[in-house]
Amino acid sequence: MTGPGVRAAALVAALLAYPFVDKALGFQTVHAVSDGMIYVLLALGLNIVVGYAGLLDLGYAAFFAIGAYAMGLLNSPVLGSPLYGYAWSFWLCIWLAAAVSALLGVVIGAPTLRVRGDYLAIITLGFGEIIPVAIRNLGDITVDIGGWRPIERLNLTGGENGVNPIGRPYLPGVPFETDPVPWYFLILIIGAASLWSMNRLRDSRLGRAWMAIREDETAADCTGVNPISTKLLAFALGASFSGFAGSVYAAKLQAITPGAFEFQVSIMLLCMVVLGGAGSLKGVILGGMLITVFDRVVLTQTTFMVRAAGRAAGVAALTTADLTLWRWFFFGLGLVLVMLLRPEGLAGRRVRPVAVGADDADDPMVLEPPPAPRAEAIPRWLRDRAPRGAATDPRAPILDVRGVVKQFGGVVALNEVDLLVPHGAIIGLIGPNGAGKTTFFNVVTGLIRPDGGRIMLAGASLAGLRPNAIVALGVARTFQSIRLFPQMTVLENVLVGEHCRLAATVAGAVLRPPAVRAEESRARARAHELLAFTGLGDKADELARNLPYGDQRRLEIGRALATEPRLLLLDEPTAGMNPRETEALTELIGLLRRELSLSVLLIEHDMEVVMGISDRITVLDYGTRIAEGTPAEIQRHPKVIEAYLGTGGEQDLAARDRSR
């Protein structure tokens, strides 16, 4: 057996033996440990929302409450549930509770997830406050409208008194009533199953989408990930795990009251996630255990010790000290210290500092020239996909933009702009800074809604489509200021690009049927081929943020290619590159067009590149198209020369832009 195998076996043995050892030694800690495990399970659910999807949830205890109350109300005689009293009740209700929690996760999430990060945090806090208030008040509803009482003393939730008793699980011969050990194993099984599925979710199409949203929502949207549905899934799945935890908690405690689900519980769970390391399963378990032990053991034991010391030293103040009163002080201090000193948490991936000079493209120490792109290195699958675009009428333009208008306040950023990209063409888009070039890209990719005009992709209108839907139709882009997913690996960045061409669902990601396995290994093989083609083959497992500048540019193009585009929008791809890198990239763009008949729309300030590679060029100035034609025509065009230099010649023009 290998090292990790031995360690895993030892861990399993310890977990299985623990309750019996505890019993033999008479420690009676099984109850407390089981309760602690419920909180760890909750923290793991919260980790999906906070750690994976990067959504700060300050009201997660609300979902815990919903899970517990779903179990409480469905499986209790207090409010007369018809499900109470059967042997199978608990086993059915636990699933119902998870479903109800997930459903409420969607209901709460759907309208709120468009909101920006810190506002979303406050909204979740608001829900976290409303739910206990509602539970308290719905125990005794009287509607009194001027003496008319359509509803009088209606009890929906048990109010302040809570729900008691709650039906226990039933298994033949297992004493759930009297013994804590079966509870321990029940929670252990649920915890292990949850951990197993979370582990699989993280390494799936969905897990990568969550992390992409966390890293850069706009870039993820423009790479084909639907931010709304991805976030909703995080909310719903996070909530469903708390549904399991809540229902077991309710059945184990036999009584639930609204006080158990206050804001402090949400913050304690957040402490567990942040302390251990948001996004790391091991870290969250570690954080959860540390906080539980600290809360239940360290504080009480230290209090005893301080009091004993006080008595010994004769200090009266110490003999009555109660450190458990400092509980929330320490939790608060913990949050502050972790964020200040080790924001990635105790077990999180330590982020290496970016290598010195890595973003200095002109660094003379970079001896290795970028690899020249080779036609035979183009991944086969990308070639196979290529004719798909051509299958439509090859004479039809891939992109046809007519009369697009966009105003920001009083500024006309785009004024009746027309632009045509014929199939398989490379079109240059140039103009002075602030001419509206990037705004034009944002309009075409759906980030900005135009005020007028129409945009047709191969004959179909793109009006009103979200960026990720436009990516799915075959438009990919890069950004002027590189927008990778910095804390994900190079390989994962490309895999996110493939997201919209993959089909795995939540169930597929967890259960991994053969079709999903095949899809996943195919996706990885393709990503590796793409990386080899873009010259990043040996850097697949590096974090994107640690790549040197030129590599980041190429990775962004690789990620765009992974979406299998028909039209590629490149926003200043050679900006900040040295001449050799620029040359290699220019070759790459030409190669893509020749071999894959990919259409390219290119914003570029390097006139040598733009004039050399473009079939036709459109020139924007102050949001208006001032010229359109072949490179030779553009170089002679008086309006273009005027826009760039006032007066002067094209030689100066090219020279100025090279030195930029």
């Binding site: 920006r116 810190d118 406050i122 002080f329 949050l335 502050v336 924001p343």
Partner: protein
């Protein structure tokens, strides 16, 4: 009481509550305007302001109702001392917990703010104990309608109501003057609009942020003192709830906008007083949070603010 007397009374209650919310909300909105941080601990600075003012009164030997000349000397002195203390506290919080995270993600300082909030609440709990504490009746309470005008009405307007209005309005006028007419104020407005450009124009951005926390903390301290003198009670947990209501007020008025925060505070004051009367005090919190959520989802720029586009 007739129905209109109830309404007038609750509206007066709403006005005094709202004045306190407005003072707290100004601190939220100023800090958010300048560093885009929801300063979660701000409500607890308000709560500590109440306890600190109590300590200053005790230090000055005030335990009973102030009279005549004391009102003109001791009361302003306690206002100044309390405001300086909470201002210093707020600046210290920024230095320790937020400043090291200026270049971090947006959520990192929000998490530390929550941590600081818990620490402050715990400090107050240990300092004053878990039970609500009585705040001495230092400000004279005179039933104005009956005593001064001889009008017999079911409506109560006391000198304490006058105190709330009389203290809040000068503070807001002073703040307005400070922000719109002084160099510091100009630096604040410039930094709020564009930190880099402000820096390039020679504004010391960190000192400007410090000043923002200073002013916000001072206003929270004043609010704590007013709250204590008006209601004669203080609890260690009151900062959380007051803070969230004040934050709702700031969001409602358009976060970053100072007139918006003042009006939002008044609105939340009226609303909570009316809700206590006409719906049920049990539901008031839920109502305020529902409004907060609805505004954030459907009109995040607030009722009066302008929509600002995110940079792509």
């Amino acid at each position: 009481m007739s129905w209109w007397e109830v309404l007038v009374q609750q509206t007066i209650n709403g006005l005094t509550r709202g004045a306190v919310f407005a003072l707290i909300a100004l601190g939220y909105t100023m800090v958010y305007g300048i560093i885009e941080l929801i300063n979660f601990a701000h409500g607890d600075v308000f709560m500590l302001g109440l306890f600190i003012s109590l300590a200053w009164f005790a230090l000055l030997g005030v335990t009973t109702t102030l009279t005549g000349w004391q009102l003109l000397t001791l009361l302003p002195l306690v206002f100044v001392l309390t405001m300086l203390t909470t201002a210093a506290l707020n600046v210290a919080i920024d230095r320790v917990a937020y400043r090291p995270l200026r270049r971090s993600t947006r959520l990192a300082p929000l998490i530390t703010a929550i941590g600081v909030s818990f620490m402050l609440e715990n400090v107050a709990l240990l300092w004053k104990g878990p039970a609500p504490i009585a705040y001495p009746d230092v400000f004279p309470s005179v039933d104005i309608l009956r005593e001064w005008f001889g009008v017999d009405s079911a409506i109560f307007v006391t000198t304490k109501d006058m105190l709330v209005v009389g203290a809040t309005i000068p503070l807001m006028v002073a703040l307005h003057y400070f922000v719109s007419r002084t160099r510091w104020g100009k630096a604040m407005r410039a930094t709020a609009q564009d930190r880099e450009t402000a820096q390039a124009m020679g504004i010391d951005v960190e000192r400007t942020i410090l000043m923002t926390f200073f002013v916000g903390g001072a206003l929270a301290g004043a609010a704590g003192l007013i709250q204590g003198m008006y209601y004669n009670i203080g609890m260690w947990w009151m900062g959380y709830q007051a803070g969230l209501r004040a934050f709702t007020a700031a969001v409602l008025g358009g976060i970053g906008s100072m007139p918006g925060a003042a009006l939002g505070g008044l609105f939340i004051g009226f609303l909570s007083a009316w809700s206590d009367q006409y719906i049920s005090a049990r539901w008031t919190n839920a109502l305020v949070f529902a409004i907060l959520i609805l505004v954030l989802v459907f009109r995040p720029q607030g009722l009066m603010g302008e929509r600002s586009a995110e940079k792509i």
